[in-house]
Amino acid sequence: MTDDVMRFFAAWMLTHEAADEGLKAAVARGESGGAEGMGGGSDAFVDGLAAMVAEEKERLKRALEARARGEEPTAERDSDPVLEEIRFEVAELRGRLDSIEALLETLVRKIG
């Protein structure tokens, strides 16, 4: 979701690149935003966000240029997070079963 939102803003920024001087100024303020540049509460947040969207826009631009040249887009991790989570949970269950099996072996040794 985060990436979707950032991508959306980045796409918007890309198509309005030449148009909005105010946004460019916000990006510049956000980029310079060390301790000195971040003194303005929610306005400073907007500047920080604008700078990050600008970074995302540059990535989007590079990806589009690469695609136009017929290159494969740079490999981004697109493994399904839900499937990954399920894989982990199954593996974790296996760990628990390994532990239970060891416990049973202990019981057998104690009884035997």
Binding site: M1, T2, D4, V5, M6, F8, F9, G33, G34, A35, E36, M38, G39, G40, G41, S42, A44, F45, G48, L49, M52, R77, E84, F88, A91, E92, R94, G95, R96, D98, S99, E101, A102, L103, E105, T106, L107, R109, K110
Partner: protein, 452 residues
């Protein structure tokens, strides 16, 4: 039990009396006097054993309730005790597995690698290969460490907590402890210790941590060997490298300490803001840097968990720090249970504003520890109770900053948090429920702009 109670009082009295000369028989200036009593208390806690060591660790994260001197002393408390004999360790293994270490491992070293109040750690090698929950298979002969809860540790800790709880109830009745609730503190300490005594919880968190950082080859945690693990024994991969107390050796070994500091701080932000679960007992002995430039997290005995709502509110508080927004910090701290009475809000806001402005170092970087601990103290001065999770997180962030600055003195931990907080708040903007709520107002604003 009564005799243990007397022992506790006797040991406390012994160390506090030993500090009487340092306190100039109570006539020394406040700070010197308080430092002397705090030192006495710390020494008494170290002698009294694991339950008190854990209690001290808890006190060390409560600058809102305890004096600066006590907090500093408790932070320096040593949890290193003489090792217990190999026979006692072997007895625990035999009780847990009904087998000798030699039947369970290809080799087992009777000489401990480390010894703390709750557990002792020994080196061993695996007899058979094992496929861990996450990560590559550990081969037969792989080096592992075996962490074993000391025999009798659980029982003595529980007994000590019961004894001290009685003393705490009496103390609470006298009204002498005005600044803190001794019974609540004890109960919190007991809950933390109970979690630490079941090593399986630590192992599960290590597995989860490996999974959370599966896409980051520079952050690792040891793989757990479950067939050789129980509640009192935890077997895990041996991590080679240097702990952060051995930085010079690491540098000599060619480790990129600066890069690791930045990466380590980022990894911690990711734990808090993205995963909502974090290593809450970071100190230089629990962090390793390896020769291939990775950071290895060890000892997941104390971990923090955040619900998605808490995570969002903490993100907002951090964003408030990043963007120096006192109102935002107070609004979202309230959602985390930090309730400032209405008649004190203005004063707290002023103090917070001063803290936000006054925590920039000469080199322009921000001092998070100064801010975080200052904020807790500010709330304490205004009689505001602080939820334990909130204090734990601030202490953890302050520790991460300290560790990172040891590696890279110019690091700005607040700047490290900026991308996370900004991204997560941006994510919130895309939340459908929030869009539904805010879109009409946004549209009205847009229309006003267009009409103008």
């Amino acid at each position: 039990m009564a005799s243990r109670g007397s022992t506790v009082l006797r040991v406390l009295a012994k160390y506090l009396l030993a500090e009487v000369p340092a306190a100039h028989f109570g006539l020394a200036p406040g700070r010197v006097r308080r430092a002397a009593w705090a030192r006495g208390m710390r020494r008494a806690f170290e002698e009294l054993g694991p339950a008190f060591v854990k209690l001290g660790q808890l006190i060390s994260v409560r600058p809102d309730e305890f004096s600066e001197e006590i907090v500093a002393e408790m932070r320096s408390m040593q949890d290193a005790v003489p090792p217990i004999p190999a026979d006692a360790i072997r007895a625990v293994i035999a009780a847990e597995f009904a087998a000798e270490p030699e039947e369970l491992f290809a080799s087992f070293d009777d000489v401990p690698l480390a010894s703390a109040s709750v557990a002792q750690v020994h080196r061993a090698t695996l007899a058979r290969p094992y496929r861990p929950v996450w990560g590559e298979t550990l081969s037969a002969g792989a080096d592992v460490v075996v962490k074993i809860v000391r025999s009798g540790a659980a029982e003595s800790i529980r007994a000590d907590i019961a004894v001290v709880r009685r003393l705490a109830v009496r103390l609470a009745r006298t009204g002498l402890a005005r600044r803190f609730d001794p019974v609540a503190l004890l109960d919190e300490s007991a809950a933390t210790v109970e979690r630490e005594l079941d090593l399986r919880q630590e192992g599960r968190f290590a597995d989860r941590f490996r999974f959370d950082f599966r896409d980051d080859p520079r952050v690792v945690a040891p793989r757990i060997v479950w067939p050789r693990s129980t509640a009192r024994v935890l077997t895990m991969e041996y991590m080679r490298g240097w702990c952060l107390t051995e930085l010079e050796a690491a540098r000599a070994g060619g480790v990129d300490c600066r890069g690791l500091a930045v990466h380590g701080a980022t990894a911690f932000m990711r734990q808090v803001f993205v995963h909502g679960r974090y290593h809450a007992d970071l100190h230089p002995a629990n962090l390793f840097v390896t020769p291939d430039d990775t950071i290895a997290y060890l000892d997941f005995g104390i971990v923090g968990h955040l619900t998605p709502e808490e995570r969002m509110n903490i993100t907002q508080v951090m964003a408030a720090l990043v963007y120096r927004d006192a109102d935002r910090a107070l609004t979202y701290s309230a959602k985390l249970g930090v309730h400032v009475p209405p008649d004190r809000i203005e004063s707290v806001r002023r103090g917070l504003g001063q803290l936000l402005d006054g925590t920039t170092r000469r080199d322009g970087t921000r001092d998070f520890a100064l801010f975080g601990l200052g904020f807790l103290k500010l709330l304490g001065r205004h009689g505001v109770r602080i939820p334990s999770g909130y204090g734990l997180l601030i202490k953890s962030l302050a520790t991460v900053e300290g560790v990172a600055r040891a590696l890279y003195p110019d690091i700005d931990i607040v700047a490290t948090a900026q991308p996370f907080t900004t991204r997560i708040l941006a994510q919130r903007m895309g939340d459908p429920a929030r869009m539904r709520e805010r879109m009409p107002a946004a549209l009205r604003a847009a229309l006003r702009e267009l009409v103008a």
